[in-house]
Symmetry: C2
Amino acid sequence: MAQDITNVSVTKDAYECTITVDCAVFGFQEGVLKLLLIQKLAEPFKGFWLLPGGIMQEGKTTEEAVKSVLLNLTGLKNIHQEQVYCYSDVNRHPLKRVITISYYGLINPENHPIIKQKHVSGVEWFRLDELPELGFDHEQLIKDALNLLKSNVEERLILGELLPARFTLTELQDLFEALLDKKLDRRNFRKKVLQKGLLANTGEKKVGAKGGPDLYTFLNK
Amino acid sequence: MAQDITNVSVTKDAYECTITVDCAVFGFQEGVLKLLLIQKLAEPFKGFWLLPGGIMQEGKTTEEAVKSVLLNLTGLKNIHQEQVYCYSDVNRHPLKRVITISYYGLINPENHPIIKQKHVSGVEWFRLDELPELGFDHEQLIKDALNLLKSNVEERLILGELLPARFTLTELQDLFEALLDKKLDRRNFRKKVLQKGLLANTGEKKVGAKGGPDLYTFLNK
DNA sequence: CTAAACTGTGTATAAATTACACAGAAAAGA
DNA sequence: TCTTTTCTGTGTAATTTATACACAGTTTAG
């Protein structure tokens, strides 16, 4: 019953399989959290909306593959990304066996114009409560990505590129409220995020804003 | 500058790469947390101690690959396992490009005798503070696995197979103290774990133990 | 220069966490 | 069998953390 070593050790002729990456790109737009989806032009799942995704090319890391995929499908570049999970069910893709590493990204859509590339029939931002029917197991990937996003935001203040280099605490709070989908008390919110020790008051004030709010930055970044 | 669709879409001839899995098997033995390592019989890293690991075979999920690898190298079977992270650096393996999905497992060594298989020169439990020099990037994998283990234990009471079906709160606390590497107050510990709502008092007492401690079980398992 | 909209702050209350001690139950040993 | 030892189970006071809440000062808009 014991199997041979060739079954587990890495050899030149070891079984290989295609690696794909999918990326849930979240954008904060008009005060609400949205998700970027593409519409497929070709089978499988032609016409369905999906997370942007694709194969990892030779010599690339999965992180580099995510960058390449996003550029090729949506025109997006320079996206902060976090790894979510590896999905390896055998029948995830109808054409051939693939393993998928999923990521999420966080961007400010104003800084990242999306440019539909020729091999997709649509690229659009969707409100999270108005998602269309999705292909593959992408509902699950989105759910998992959103959970990780929330815990990264709340516990580690990981906000990707949603904030400019210098920002006000109100801008930060608005973000929190949209991402976590709940209203927060201003004074308590400030106490909480400041005592994490990740923020520094620049001593400068934002001009052109009522009240003259202080500008903050992230300390270790 | 825009790349062609063939670079990202899944096709029959899409680039493929070997998938490996590594598993940090933690065991709770003699009141202390240990890690199971194997010693390699062949290059690369011949003679080095490593996490048990190996390739994913055709038609298997990564979870199944972990099971197969553990059986083939250590004789272990039926191990609770949790996915940790996917490592995709291009030069992780000297023989060829591989992508590694890492897992951790938690077992009670008394229930799982380890049987050195013929293609490894050693299989041993090591105390975490007495780990030998390790091959590959396994120091990093262990660090990441241990972090996830701790947060899974503390937040979600995920204890794998370290506990029998029915156990006393003292047994649970001893586990916590070993896994988290700190001393806990008995009364406060009880309040905390009980209010998670994951445990049920069976109403029975453990026989053969002083004090006649109550036996508990996990509710949803 | 007045009105409107925003910022920054402190305190009292509630909730959660921590520190701490003793009586009862079972086993071990005389 | 009874005395000692070792373990279990529990409550409360003190501290820390989280929550609810209001007003005076600053800036833009008109």
